[in-house]
Every structure is written in structure tokens, then in C-alpha cells.
């Protein structure tokens, strides 16, 4: 909080300068220097109790009219403030000392804290207030670009599901999260206003204390504990709107008719149905198009932008109140928050309530008791369909194929919204039921999930009185998460506009939707119950012996986790408005339930040593055991050690001449991390329940099948992590930096043992083995610059932070099949690279086709030409290979700009990524790819983005750069959409991720109303993006087939009120 207060003081000082004065004055001059005699620029000089002041120039000088007897105040960021009474002298020179507290930042690390100065591992940290500088709805979103070593991709904008996926240093593992010392599954539901700080443990030396959970790095969140001093109550509230940040324009009615006709003509020319464009009988007639544009929907034709109908404007509000205070005996913090999101698609809503209370109390001379309670109540509702989706129906009757996004983009723009009482629908190829996004939104029923997570942490620490510095602590955490969902699906009907072979169009009788009529109104209810218990006992010692400093920790930790879920389904509810299980009849699979449990144990040890805070060393180790692996063997328990050293050059005598240097430290570390993210019990030979079988005359009986071939030697995956780093601070913190280079070697990667085995083995080999290996290397850079200078007679404070993270992860060992072509071997390739054919532009003439190899049947001019890699004269799966990049940027960067001037403050956060590709082809989870709305014109007969058809090759646009217009039902046209380098676009981008502009009223005014502080602000995110992608394609968009909830742009305004 300190820098923040200091910042406020500066702002206030700025305001004060604006006021005039009327006393007799003398012109006083002076110079401000630091303790080394270097001039300090931008120091605010003001007359105490007035609003008069100035700033020092670059050479540290200042001048001001000062009345005799006044007191001058000198304030500068990072320096201890100085006050000096004016007694009539003509010159006042001031020496300002570095603010030791400011530099001696304490960072939270695993199982404790460390002084930033003497830290030897790679840890990025951010203060909680940074998180409040954006309209983010959850913590994961705001970390992007603000911390080095971290890459973030936010693929969805759906309320309640819009968290970003975070990776540390290109790791293939997910991040482990720790809140106030205890592991949690995620941090999204924490109210950003409750957060004191966030630390990212990036290297082996910092993360090894988390052993088997640490391979993907660790993010530690520390919540506010309250400060000694007056009670403060702060209210922070904002409201605003949200909309799609990016979305392509689709064809309107007449455009659809035109391009559809051209596409059909092209197809007919290609398959020989017609031999010239003259013979073509248009699918959509001129009359049809006129009917679309005559403004009369009752004639069965209209011109509707369904994209805008579905994706509108969302409403959002956030409120929170925090209270904190304390004295020598007790400190406390209470925070409560509300988040309400009404999504920009109707029916997608999310509400969250947070409550947190932290208390720390000295209960005896040597005893400290802490308790933290938190509760999060979430309430998410959606229509019966997912916004975007994966394939396969989920438990809640959702079918990804019928996601709202998919139905919306597929919808024919020439259909009126309604015909009579019914919404209209688009007959999609391959689907027996029509698309109708509006009916799906408003008539399909709804899904509703409520969740409650309650967490309690307690600890009791005893400072052993007879050994100074020795403390024993017992602590525990209990976390209970419940969620309850209720999903109602109601049948509904839509009408479709169908064209007969003779060209006449007619409206169908109402057709049933995917919900089906046979089962009537359906209801599914489910509950999940999770609890986890963590217990820790630790002992710490800290002491100094002359110039030797020692600090040690031993700790034991046990974690126990249980989960249960139960769901029930009924159908044929007489009234959808009475959705109770009692009112329906059970479905064929009425009840589903299962449970799970896991347990782990670990012992942690750590010793830190420093000599005169100049030479630093740290050793840690964790002995970790997991239930997932065979007991009583060496595979259950693993030891994860780390070592790191540091050298503070700036403390050396020979560096004392470099007075511009505040601090300079070199660091080196190595450590071993583990990951047990594999299916448990693979060492056992087990039978799992299969589907029942029915014997004639007997009925259904259970069946059980062998669930896997056991492997008793299975063990966890390991990452050996190396880090070299440098921290520096120059010119009193005006320039600061942390630069790290790392190399992580991950081995014993649990590999699905499918490849490399003959299929005649029938899968009889242990399903997982520890075989694969990969490595990541890269650099993280954080550079900060802060300063202030006078502008218009008022001080302008600014701070610039730039982060750059580069990491490249590649496979060193991969279970490749020995006989596949070189270009299909994964070994040596970058992790998660896109795979497909190499495209060589489009065919421009029949001769080119004659002289080429092709896939399947003969292509047409305007189809994609693929490279025949093995030269066998045909294009097939053997010509596919790993030629693309990953869809996660290898290079991410952020630029954070803070400005403060005359009561105004501004924060801009730019983020960007490079060295990655956005795939317009959809790739299923199993690696099969498929055409998407971005790669196939008129996919499933539905609408297509305008950029695609406008740029498509056609007889009228022979120079078109996109594959030819086609209705793509069989044969070619379909093949264009398969994965190939044609669709892998360079995704590099920069976007204004967040921006906030605020104005704080002068305290002189607000205090009259008993208000300590009052600030107004406006904020936004995803405000603009610069990239080279087709208009409307978001660089963070996932490669999926069924659409997704587009990333959102938020525009909010609010106030912060402190009492």
C-alpha cells in the first residue's frame, strides 16, 4: 500500500500547487540531491498547509516564493520525505535519503516471505492495487502483460466462464495456485479488491517446495490482512456495458443470394451439370432479392442481421466495500463484493458475491493466531444451449453443434425473424433439425448453476521464548465447494423456408427442434460436493550471527480431497414452469452418481544463508508422496531439491563509485519439479463397468472390461529447471529491471502408449509409460521507469513498465511411430504445433491441376493446391506434417503506463503476442480437423463471413485469394477446409487490453463532507487491437468448429470512496 499512498500524496501535492496565495514572500532557491550528491529531478517542493509548490528541475534546482516562517515539504517517490522550516535564508539545499522501506520490498514466496533484495530465485510479483486498474471480472484476466514470464490467452467472453488460461514460461503444465498458504484449484473467484499481492514462482528454486504440483509454476495470492492505524472503509463501484470486441461481418440477404447463386453456378460448372454461365438457373431469383429488400417481412423474405440480433450489449456492475484497521494486538480486514454480469447475448448471466474476513491477533506474549474466512457465491445461468461448444452432448443436454454461436452464424440473413407465431429456422446440411438462434435463446429452456465455496484457514504460531527467532506453527485449511445445477429443456418449434425443385419457396409446417418432442419438457438436476483439508506443521528459525544470516524452515503437509456428485433426470414435465423432479417421469438413465478421493503428503525443508546480505545462498527440498502411484516402492515418494545463489554486486566496495547504482544483483538457480497429472491407479489391474448387455429371455446384465494394462513402474514427470537472473535499480529507482534467462528440461513425461505399437497387439501394452521429454528455454524481462516532472506548473508523475516473455518449448523425445514420414515425427518440433498439409496457393488453371497431385477427386480451379511431399503423385494423409506454429504465442509482451497529474490518473495496459499462428481450421480434441465457418463458404448451407466470399476465387473474381466459392456438399470444396498451412495465419498482435482514467477530488473539498477520498474513473478493456488477421478474427480465438462466446469489450465508469 505504501507506494499507493505516496502516489496519492503526490497527486494531492499537485492539486495544492494550483491554488494561489496572498502572503508576503521571498524568492527562495535551492537544490535537492541524494545522499551521493546526485541531483534529484521532479521532487515536489511545497509549502506545508498551503497549496503553493513547485518541482525541481533536471539539475535538482528549484525556486519558489516563500513567506517567512513557512515549512517546506520535499516529496519524491522512493525517498523519505523531508520537511524544512524557512527562516529567511536565500538558499535551501536538501539531501533526500532513499526510502529503505520502499526498496526493501518483501515478496511472498512458497511457505514464507523473502526480502526482494536478497531473493535468489526467479519470482515476479504484483501489488493488489494494480489489479483494480481494469474492468476485469476475474483475476486471471488482469495478469496478462503485467507480469513477466507469464502468458495468457482468453478464449471466451462468456459471463462466468471468461477466465484466461495462464501458462508460466511456456510450460506444458497448468499453474498451481496457492492462496494464503494453501493450495486451491483456481483463483478466478477471488475479488480483486481483497488481494494484497500476487507472486509468480517461475523457476525451480522458488517452486520446488511445492514438489509434485510445481512443474507448471506456482501463483501465490495473498489477501489483505489489515494495517495498523485508523479504520478505513472503502467503497468501490462501477457500472458499464460490454459488447463483442471483435467479430467479422457476415453476408446480408442480397449478398447471400448473390454469392450463393455464384457458388452454385461454380459447382454446376465444375460437375458438368451446366457448361456455361448462361445456362445457370439462379437459386435465388431477382424477385426473391427484391422481396428481401422491400421492407415487408410478411412476404416471407427479409434482411436481418442475426449477428447483431444475438450479440447485443451486456450490462455489468461491480461493487465492493472493504474495511480494515488494527493496532498492536489485532489487525483485521473485511471485504465484500458483488459482480453482476448480464451478457451481451440474452440469457447468459452471472452473479457473484464475495465475502472475506481476515484477522490476525496476538493472543499471548508469544502466540499469534490468524483466521481467514471466505465465501464465494456464484450464480450462472444460460439458455439451454452452450454459447460455443465442444462436440458430444454434455450431461446437461447440451449439444456443441447447436451452440448459440454456431446457430447464429449459420442463420440465413434473408429469413424474417418470425413467421406467424414461430421463429424461423435455417435448414442446415447434415442436420435433421434447423438452426434458429433466437428460438434457441428464448424458447429452449435454461441452465442454472449455483455454487458456494467456503474456505476457512486458521493458524497458531508460537515464538519459542527461550530461542530467539525460532517459531513453531500449526495451520490448517478446510475448503468446501458445493454446486447445484438445474437444467430445464423445453421443446419448441420453428418454421423453415424451403425451396422446391421448381424454384418456388414455401414455409414448412412447424418443425421440432433438437430438444425433441418425444420426451416433452426435460429436467436435469445435479449436485457436486467437494471438500479438501490441508494440514501443516512447520518450524522456522531466523537469526544473524555477525555478518552471517541464517533462516531455516521444516514443514510437513498433508492434503486430503474428496468429491461426490449426484444427478437425476426426468422428462415429460407437464409444465416447464414447475420444474421439479417429482413432476416428471424418469428418463432411461435417471440417476448418475460417482465419487472420488485423492491424498498426498509432503515434507519441506529450506535453509537460506547470507553473508552481509552480499553473498546469498538458498537450498530447498521437498519429499512428496502421491496416492496415484504404487505404494511401498520407490515410485510413490519423490525428492525435489533446489539450490540457488545470489551476489549483490552493488554491495561490493569496488562498486561504491557507481553512485547511480541503487542495487545490482546476479542470481543463479537450479531445481527439480514434479507433476503427477496422470490418471491414478495405473499400477493396478482393474475392471471397469461397461454397458449392460441383454440376453434373450433373461434381460439386461452388467458387463465389466479390463480398464488398462497395468504398469507398476509408472512414476511422475520431472522438470529440471535452470535460471540465470539479474535485478537492478538505477538512479533512485528511476530505472529498474529484472532480467531472467531459463532452461527447463522436462522428462519422464507420461505418454499414452498408443503409438509405436502394432494394432494386432489389440492395445495390450501398458497404456502410459514415462517416456517423452521436452525442453523450454526463454527469457523474461521486466523494465520499469518512473519519474516526475513539471507540466503546466504542476508535477506530472509517470511510470512505465514493460514486460517481455519469450519461451520456446519443443519435443526432445516423443513416442513417434517408426515408419511415419519424417515430417510427421513430433520429436524436435515445437510443442502443440499445428499439423496439416502444406498449401501452395490456389489452382489458377486446369493445366496446373493436370500437372499436380491432388487429394481424393480431381479439384477445380480455385481449390487449394497441396504439396506432394513424398512425391508419390497423390495427396494423402502421408503428405501431412507438423508445419505450423502453436496457437500460444512464443513471445508475449506488455506495456504498462501510469500517469498522475493534478488529481488525474491514467493507466494503460497494452499486451501483445507474436510468433504464433491462429488456425482458422477447427481441430477436435483428438487431432481430427474439420471445416469451420472461417474456411468453408456456406458451411452446412449457412451464412459465411463477408471477407471470405468477397475474396473467394470465382469466375467473376479470378484473382480471388481465398478458395473458390462453393456450396461444398461433396468432393472438393470440402477438402479446402481441411487443415493446411493456407489457414494458419500469423497471429501477431498488440491490443490495448485495459485502460483506466480517474480523477480524485482534492481532500480539502472532500473532507468537508467527512470523506477521506473520492475518485471518479472510467475504464475499458479490449479497446482496440492491431493485427494482420481477417477483419473480426480475434487473435486469441480458439481453433474450434462450433463457435465460441466472443471476447468482450467492457466500458465502465465508477467511483471509489474512502471514509
Amino acid at each position: 500500500m505504501k507506494p499507493f499512498f505516496r502516489f496519492l500524496i503526490l497527486l494531492m501535492a499537485g492539486y495544492v500547487l494550483a491554488q494561489g496565495t496572498a502572503f508576503a514572500q521571498t524568492n527562495v532557491r535551492g537544490r535537492v540531491t541524494d545522499s551521493d550528491g546526485q541531483p534529484l529531478a521532479g521532487v515536489t517542493v511545497m509549502i506545508k498547509g498551503t497549496t503553493v509548490g513547485t518541482n525541481t528541475a533536471a539539475d535538482g534546482t528549484w525556486s519558489l516564493q516563500v513567506p517567512k516562517g513557512a515549512v517546506l515539504e520535499f516529496v519524491s517517490l522512493g525517498m523519505t520525505p523531508v520537511t524544512r522550516p524557512y527562516q529567511g535564508e536565500t538558499g535551501i539545499d536538501v539531501i533526500m535519503e532513499e526510502d529503505i522501506l520502499f526498496l526493501e520490498d518483501v515478496v511472498v514466496v512458497g511457505y514464507g516471505t523473502a526480502k526482494k533484495e536478497t531473493l535468489t530465485a526467479a519470482v515476479s510479483a504484483i501489488k493488489g492495487e494494480e489489479l483494480l486498474k481494469s474492468p476485469s471480472t476475474n483475476v486471471s484476466q488482469v495478469l496478462a502483460g503485467r507480469l513477466s514470464g507469464l502468458s495468457s490467452v482468453q478464449e471466451s467472453g462468456e459471463p462466468g466462464l471468461d477466465q484466461a488460461s495462464i501458462r508460466i514460461r511456456g510450460s506444458v503444465y497448468g499453474v498451481s495456485y496457492v492462496v494464503d498458504g494453501f493450495p486451491v484449484s483456481d483463483i478466478n473467484d477471488i475479488d480483486p479488491a481483497d488481494i494484497e499481492s500476487i507472486s509468480v514462482l517461475k523457476d525451480g528454486a522458488s517452486a520446488a517446495v511445492y514438489g509434485l504440483k510445481a512443474a507448471g509454476g506456482v501463483i501465490i495470492v495473498t489477501t489483505k490482512k489489515g494495517n495498523k492505524g485508523d479504520v478505513h472503509i472503502t467503497y468501490n463501484g462501477s457500472v458499464g456495458v460490454s459488447m463483442n470486441a471483435n467479430f467479422p461481418e457476415f453476408m446480408d440477404g442480397p449478398q447471400f443470394a448473390y454469392y450463393y447463386n455464384v457458388a452454385q453456378m461454380m459447382d454446376q460448372l465444375a460437375n458438368g451439370t451446366i457448361s456455361s454461365t448462361q445456362e445457370y438457373v439462379p437459386y435465388f431469383s431477382r424477385d426473391n432479392v427484391e422481396a428481401m429488400t422491400n421492407g415487408d417481412p410478411t412476404d416471407g423474405w427479409d434482411n436481418v442481421n442475426y449477428i447483431n440480433k444475438v450479440f447485443g450489449t451486456g450490462l455489468n456492475s461491480k461493487h465492493n466495500i472493504t474495511l480494515q484497521g488494527g493496532n498492536d494486538r489485532i489487525r483485521y480486514f473485511i471485504g465484500s463484493g458483488y459482480l453482476g454480469q448480464k451478457g451481451n447475448i440474452d440469457g447468459y448471466n452471472y452473479t457473484r458475491y464475495n465475502l472475506r474476513a481476515n484477522v490476525e491477533s496476538k493472543v499471548g506474549r508469544d502466540l499469534t493466531f490468524t483466521a481467514g474466512l471466505s465465501g464465494v457465491l456464484g450464480d450462472r445461468s444460460t439458455p439451454r444451449f452452450a454459447s460455443g461448444g465442444s462436440d458430444g452432448a454434455g450431461s446437461s443436454y447440451e449439444v456443441g453443434y447447436f451452440s448459440i454461436a454456431h446457430q447464429t452464424v449459420g442463420m440465413w440473413p434473408f429469413l424474417p425473424e418470425k413467421m406467424g407465431d414461430y421463429y424461423t429456422g435455417t435448414v442446415a446440411n447434415n442436420q435433421s433439425t434447423p438452426y434458429s438462434p433466437l428460438a434457441a435463446l428464448y424458447l429452449s429452456g435454461n441452465n442454472h448453476t449455483k455454487s458456494l465455496t467456503a474456505t476457512a484457514n486458521v493458524s497458531l504460531a508460537w515464538d519459542i521464548p527461550w530461542v530467539k527467532g525460532l517459531q513453531v506453527k500449526v495451520s490448517g485449511s478446510y475448503d468446501n465447494s458445493n454446486s447445484y445445477s438445474k437444467n430445464v429443456a423445453t421443446p419448441y418449434y420453428v418454421v423453415t423456408h424451403d425451396r422446391a425443385a421448381d424454384g418456388t419457396w414455401s414455409w414448412s409446417s412447424p418443425k421440432v427442434d433438437v430438444n425433441g418432442t418425444a420426451d416433452g419438457n426435460k429436467l436435469g438436476e445435479g449436485v457436486t460436493y467437494q471438500e479438501s483439508l490441508t494440514g501443516q506443521v512447520d518450524m522456522t528459525y531466523a537469526g544473524t550471527f555477525g555478518k552471517h544470516g541464517i533462516d531455516a524452515l521444516v514443514l510437513a503437509e498433508v492434503r486430503d480431497y474428496k468429491t461426490n456428485n449426484l444427478s437425476a433426470y426426468v422428462k415429460n414435465l407437464p409444465f416447464a414452469l414447475l420444474p421439479e423432479l417429482n413432476n416428471g417421469t424418469p428418463t432411461s438413465n435417471p440417476v448418475i452418481g460417482s465419487s472420488n478421493a485423492s491424498r498426498s503428503a509432503g515434507y519441506v525443508g529450506r535453509v537460506r544463508y547470507n553473508y552481509d546480505e552480499k553473498y546469498l545462498a538458498e537450498f530447498t527440498g521437498r519429499l512428496d508422496g502421491s496416492y496415484k502411484f504404487a505404494g511401498m516402492t520407490s515410485t510413490r515418494w519423490g525428492f525435489f531439491p533446489s539450490a540457488s545463489i545470489g551476489w549483490r554486486l552493488s554491495k561490493e566496495d569496488f562498486m561504491q563509485g557507481a553512485s547511480f547504482l541503487d542495487d545490482l544483483k546476479l542470481r543463479a538457480s537450479m531445481g527439480l519439479l514434479g507433476s503427477d497429472s496422470v490418471t491414478a491407479f495405473m499400477f493396478l489391474s482393474q475392471y471397469a463397468q461397461g454397458g449392460k448387455v441383454v440376453y434373450p429371455g433373461v434381460g439386461a446384465v452388467p458387463s465389466y472390461y479390463t480398464s488398462g494394462v497395468p504398469n507398476k513402474d509408472l512414476t511422475w514427470e520431472k522438470t529440471l529447471s535452470y535460471n540465470l537472473g539479474m535485478d537492478f535499480s538505477l538512479w533512485n529507482g528511476k530505472l529498474g529491471g529484472e532480467i531472467d534467462a531459463f532452461y527447463n528440461y522436462t522428462y519422464d513425461i507420461l505418454t499414452y502408449n498408443g503409438g509405436g505399437h502394432a494394432s494386432s497387439m489389440g492395445g495390450y501394452y501398458s497404456t502410459y509409460i514415462n517416456k517423452n521429454a521436452l525442453d523450454s528455454k526463454g527469457i523474461d524481462i521486466l523494465l520499469t521507469h518512473k519519474n516526475s516532472f513539471g507540466l503546466g506548473g504542476r508535477p506530472l508523475f509517470y511510470e512505465v513498465g514493460a514486460t517481455l516473455t519469450y519461451s520456446k518449448t519443443r519435443w526432445l523425445v516423443y513416442q513417434d511411430s517408426p515408419n511415419v514420414p519424417e515430417w510427421q515425427k513430433v520429436t524436435g518440433t515445437t510443442y502443440n504445433s499445428l499439423w496439416g498439409w502444406q498449401a501452395d496457393g490456389l489452382y489458377r488453371s486446369e493445366e496446373e491441376i493436370d500437372n499436380s497431385a491432388w487429394y481424393g477427386t480431381r479439384p477445380n480451379v480455385g481449390d487449394i493446391r497441396y504439396v506432394d511431399l513424398n512425391g508419390d503423385g497423390k495427396i494423402d494423409w502421408n503428405d501431412r506434417g507438423i508445419f505450423g506454429k502453436s496457437n500460444r504465442p512464443e513471445l508475449t509482451f506488455g506495456l504498462n503506463l501510469n500517469l498522475g497529474w493534478n488529481g488525474f490518473d491514467m493507466n494503460l495496459q497494452f499486451t501483445g503476442g507474436a510468433l504464433f499462428q491462429v488456425s482458422l481450421t477447427g481441430t477436435y480434441f483428438n487431432g481430427y480437423d474439420d471445416n469451420t465457418i472461417w474456411t468453408q463458404t456456406f458451411k452446412e448451407g449457412g451464412n459465411s463471413p463477408l471477407f471470405m466470399v468477397e475474396n473467394a476465387y470465382s469466375v467473376y473474381n479470378p484473382d480471388g485469394t481465398w478458395p473458390r466459392l462453393t456450396l461444398s456438399t461433396t468432393g472438393h470444396g470440402g477438402d479446402n477446409g481441411l487443415s493446411s498451412s493456407f489457414w494458419w495465419l500469423d497471429g501477431k498482435y498488440i491490443r490495448l487490453k485495459t485502460a483506466q482514467l480517474g480523477y480524485t477530488l482534492p481532500k480539502e473539498i472532500t473532507r468537508k463532507f467527512g470523506v477521506e477520498g473520492l475518485r471518479f474513473f472510467v475504464e475499458g478493456n479490449n479497446l482496440f487491437t492491431i493485427d494482420g488477421l481477417p477483419k473480426g478474427i480475434d487473435p486469441e480465438s480458439p481453433g474450434v468448429n462450433n463457435g465460441y462466446y466472443p471476447q468482450q469489450r467492457y466500458l465502465m465508469g465508477g467511483i471509489t470512496l474512502t471514509l
Binding site: S432, G516, R599, Y627, G631, A758, G762
Partner: protein, 550 residues
């Protein structure tokens, strides 16, 4: 410092010990240990039940993922031009030619991977029965082994039928390795026969089998499988053994597919209560059944005019179809065709679910022109719908899924298997008797034949008696006929349908003979053996692709 160390040591002692490792011993919540599984007869049967489920796969999943194999012959046509299974792809396979690459054939017709997966689990079950099931009563142990070995012989039969020379694995699980050579077809047959004999000997008779696999199934399967091995004696013996088990022809041909009776040797069953259902009706019911309840479904595939013309008149002999090979308003002689036609194919005017089938343009069921209308959506492209196997009592407004059993093995087929074996072993008397019995059931006349005429009669009976039971494509293949020109084989022909339009006179229709193909069909001789999949070739150093696929 001393006290420090003491305190440290105390804590360390407190935390260490073996208790922690014990604490980490959890057991899975979703599976059960193999030892428990094979400790009792009831649970051992659970493990065998999962092997029994391969009967379904052998019948419905392995033959062709693109659709019924009849669609690869002159019998059946999928009407949608969309590039999907149960749509255009079966026709694409039938057009053959260069499309039939090794990879393509493996994707749509290959079953190597799945069959070996099933073989492995069957062998694993036999291995576990031997090693972990030692505590089971001997009679049960032998019975369960017989069930498993019958399934294994069936799986290997399905392999040898497609690939001839295949890799042999028995229950010695340690023999499984990535590099393994092929065995000669003859050795595979020896292995199959060994399992069949064990099953025939040790399985109970049907009455005592409680719905599980029995002797009759083993004999019936042998009569089918040994045809492929040209073991005529074996086929005849197996067929006679089936008869000895008490199986016989039902009096009513249509009834065989509606209820389990003396002709049914093995059916695969379903249950609404347990949500074990299939979609046969959804795919093949006349489209009108669905449009009447405002839904879409049915009519994915329909019988061809060629299949219709394969049926004799009820009095014997074939009608003259020439008038219907052009355009005419004469009514085709549907009503005069033999009972098996009536039981198998729905035509214009046929009675169905209390209504009349309307496969004409604009009718309740409707007609769609192949290729011109990409998606028939329940309408027929041939003028017919399938009746055999479709459940007439299925109320589509109540539910989509179906539970009528699949008839897998029946006595009618066994008789025809015997007829073929007798003919091949120059026993015309035996062959004539079997053919006669089959025809007599449907009231068709028959006088004893010999030589090529006898063979033609047997072939004709297999085509119509066993129509749409998943056998015809494989019959043509094993006879070596498939690559010959039509009508003997599947080369150089197109299939047809009748486009029916209501005529000016009420109640009359105009019938027009139309092709429902884009081009001539083609069956390359190499299709008589399917190619090995790349997943085998790439990983097994001891095999090479079969010569015809190199």
C-alpha cells in the same frame, strides 16, 4: 542452539514414519480389482458379458462403417448426396475405381484394429479365467471358457474372411509383441476349428443356457464360417447338428424377424428399460412415418428396382418387367410377387402401420431424385422402402430408438449353407432337399435341379431368402464373383428405381424407370482381400502389405 536441534529433531520424529505411506493407499472408485472379478461365477460372467457384446459389433459395426453392405451391391441405395456415411459414401465405395486406396478401404471396410482389440480382450479373459478363476466350480469354468472360445473363433473368422492371412494370438498374453508375422490362412482355420470344437463340445444346449451362448450357436456359426474354408463336410455336419438341436424353419417367413422362435439360433437383444437401443428404424422406416409426426427421419436407404426384380411371382417364375423399364401408367405386379417380397420391401400401395405407403412425388413418404435433391430427408430415391427388420409396431411419436432384436443366426441360413456345401461336394440330393425346404415354406414350386442350374437356384435363394441380413456382399466376394460384370458380379452396372407421379386419372400413377447412380459401379478384384491398416504396417517389422495392395 542445542535446544533448537532438539526441537527440530522432535518435530521431524513426529512427522516421519511409515504411517504416511499407508495413508496414501487409496482404492479406485470407478473400477474393481481383477482378482475380485474372477473370484465368483456371477462376477466372472460379468467379465464374459463384455466379450459377448462383440456379437453386436460383428453384426452392426465391423462390416462397413459407411452403411449396410447391401448398399455396396445391387440391392440397396442410400439416397442422400451429402458426403457422409449412410449417405453418399456407400455409393462412392460402390463406384470403386481409384477411390479405393488402401487407406480409404481400411477406413470404411477395415476392421483389423477393432477385431484385434476384441481378440486381445477375449484372450485376456481366457487368461484371467485360467489364472484367477481357479476357484470357480469346474463346470462353470469350462462353460465360460467355451463361451469365450466361441467368441474368439468368431472374431478370427471375421478376420480371415476379410484378410485371409492374419496374425494368430491365443491366451498366452506374453506372446503379444509388436513385431509378429502373419500365419497362413490354413493355420488360422485350424485355430478357428479348434475353438469351435471346444465350444460345440462344452457349451450347454439352448434350453439350459439361460440366454447365453449355446451349442446351437456354435454349430450354426460353424456352418457359416466353414463355407469360407471350403470345408464342405464340416458345413454339412454342422448344419445337421443344428437340426439335431431342434431348430427348424418357421411356417411364416415374415414372422422370423418379429419374434424369437424355433428358427432363431442367435439374436442380439435390446431393452428400453436399460437404455440399450439401436437406430434401425430411425434410418430405414418409411419417411412418411416421421413426417406424420412432424419429424425427420427414416428412408436413409431404400431397396432398388434390381432387388425388386430378383423376386419371383408367388406362383414361381419371374414377371416381365420390360414395361417398367420406360414410362408407363400400368401398375407393377407387386401384389403377385412371392411372400418374401411382401415381407421385405414396401412399395407403392403396400399397407404399413394402418396406412398406405406413398412413395410418389408429393406423397406422404415422397420421392426425391438422386443427386438433384441433395437431401431426401425421408423420401425414397428408388420408389421403395425396406420392410424386413423394421419394426412396424414402433410408435415414432413416443420414441425414436428401437429395441427389436437383430437376428444374427437362423436356421434358414443354415439350410442354405448346407445346400451350398452339398452342391460343392456333388451331393445334389442334399442340395435340392435344402432348397426345396426353403422354397416350400413360402409356397414356391421347385423341381430338382443339377449342375449350373442347381447352383443358380442356390444363389437365387441366398439372395432373396437372406436379403438385408448382411451376407450377400460377402457371398459375392467369397465366390470370387464380385469383380465380374453384373449380374454375376458388382462391376459395370447402375442401380435403378421407379419415379412415381400421380397420373391424371385418380388412383393411377405414372412409373418411370430412372438410374439412381452417377456412373457405372466398379469392384476391383483386389477388394477380395482388404488391405492391412498402416497402424500395423508402420509398427510391425515382420509384415508387409498384401501383394494386391502394394
Amino acid at each position: 542452539m542445542k535446544k533448537n536441534i532438539i526441537a527440530l529433531a522432535a518435530v521431524a520424529a513426529m512427522l516421519s514414519g511409515t504411517a504416511c505411506t499407508k495413508m496414501l493407499d487409496l482404492t479406485p472408485k470407478d473400477s474393481i480389482s481383477d482378482k475380485v472379478m474372477w473370484a465368483q461365477v456371477s462376477s466372472a460372467e460379468y467379465a464374459v458379458n463384455s466379450i459377448y457384446s462383440y456379437v453386436y459389433d460383428i453384426y452392426a459395426a465391423y462390416p462397413c462403417v459407411a452403411g449396410m453392405t447391401e448398399a455396396l451391391t445391387d440391392q440397396f441405395k442410400y439416397g442422400s448426396y451429402l458426403y457422409n456415411s449412410l449417405c453418399f459414401i456407400p455409393s462412392e465405395i460402390a463406384y470403386g475405381g481409384n477411390t479405393l486406396t488402401a487407406n480409404y478401404v481400411d477406413v470404411y471396410l477395415g476392421a483389423w484394429d477393432s477385431l484385434y482389440g476384441a481378440v486381445r480382450r477375449t484372450n485376456e479373459a481366457i487368461y484371467n479365467l485360467h489364472t484367477l478363476g481357479t476357484g470357480l466350480p469346474e463346470a462353470d469354468r469350462i462353460r465360460l471358457e467355451a463361451e469365450l472360445r466361441l467368441m474368439r473363433s468368431w472374431l478370427y473368422f471375421e478376420l480371415v474372411k476379410r484378410y485371409r492371412d492374419v496374425i494368430l494370438y491365443d491366451e498366452d498374453m506374453s506372446a503379444i509383441s509388436t513385431d509378429k508375422a502373419l500365419s497362413d490362412e490354413a493355420d488360422v482355420w485350424t485355430f478357428i476349428k479348434g475353438d469351435l470344437v471346444y465350444a460345440e463340445t462344452n457349451l450347454p444346449v439352448k434350453e439350459q443356457a439361460k440366454g447365453r451362448l449355446n451349442k446351437g450357436v456354435a454349430y450354426a456359426l460353424a456352418s457359416r464360417a466353414l463355407l469360407y474354408a471350403h470345408d464342405w463336410e464340416g458345413v454339412i455336419a454342422a448344419a445337421d447338428n443344428v437340426k439335431e438341436q431342434g431348430y427348424d424353419l418357421e411356417a411364416n417367413y415374415a414372422g422370423v424377424f418379429k419374434a424369437e422362435g424355433k428358427e432363431t439360433i442367435l439374436s442380439y437383444n435390446f431393452s428400453y428399460a436399460d437404455n440399450i437401443t439401436h437406430s434401425y428404424d430411425f434410418y430405414y422406416t418409411p419417411g412418411g412415418d416421421y413426417s406424420l409426426v412432424n419429424e425427420q427421419g427414416g428412408g436413409y436407404g431404400t431397396p432398388t428396382q434390381e432387388m425388386v426384380e430378383s423376386y419371383e411371382l408367388a406362383t414361381g417364375g419371374f414377371p416381365d418387367w420390360t414395361p417398367w423399364h420406360g414410362t408407363t401408367t400400368d401398375t407393377p405386379p407387386y401384389a403377385e410377387l412371392e411372400p418374401r417380397f411382401q415381407a421385405t420391401i414396401l412399395y407403392n400401395g403396400a399397407s404399413w402401420k394402418g396406412r398406405t405407403i406413398e412413395p410418389w412425388v408429393g406423397g406422404t413418404d415422397g420421392w426425391a431424385q438422386w443427386r438433384k435433391e441433395t437431401q431426401p430427408q425421408g423420401r425414397t430415391t428408388t420408389g421403395y422402402y425396406l420392410r424386413k427388420g423394421v419394426d412396424e409396431s414402433h410408435d415414432l411419436s413416443a420414441r425414436t430408438q428401437s429395441v427389436q432384436p437383430f437376428v444374427i443366426l437362423r436356421y434358414g441360413e443354415v439350410l442354405l449353407n448346407k445346400a451350398e456345401a452339398c452342391y460343392r461336394s456333388n451331393d445334389a440330393v442334399g442340395a435340392n432337399a435344402a432348397v426345396k425346404a426353403i422354397r416350400a415354406r413360402v409356397g414356391l414350386p421347385y423341381s430338382d435341379l443339377s449342375g449350373d442350374e442347381l447352383w443358380a437356384a442356390i444363389r437365387q435363394e441366398r439372395k432373396v431368402e437372406l436379403a438385408f441380413e448382411g451376407l450377400w456382399y460377402w457371398d459375392l466376394r467369397r465366390w470370387g464373383d464380385a469383380s465380374k460384370n453384373y449380374p454375376t458380379g458388382l462391376n459395370a452396372y447402375q442401380v435403378h428405381g421407379l419415379m412415381i407421379v400421380p397420373a391424371a386419372v385418380s388412383g393411377q400413377y405414372e412409373y418411370t424407370y430412372v438410374s439412381v447412380d452417377d456412373k457405372d459401379r466398379n469392384y476391383p478384384a483386389r477388394m477380395d482381400r482388404f488391405p492391412m491398416p498402416s497402424s500395423e504396417l508402420n509398427n510391425n517389422a515382420k509384415v508387409e502389405q498384401y501383394a494386391e495392395w502394394k
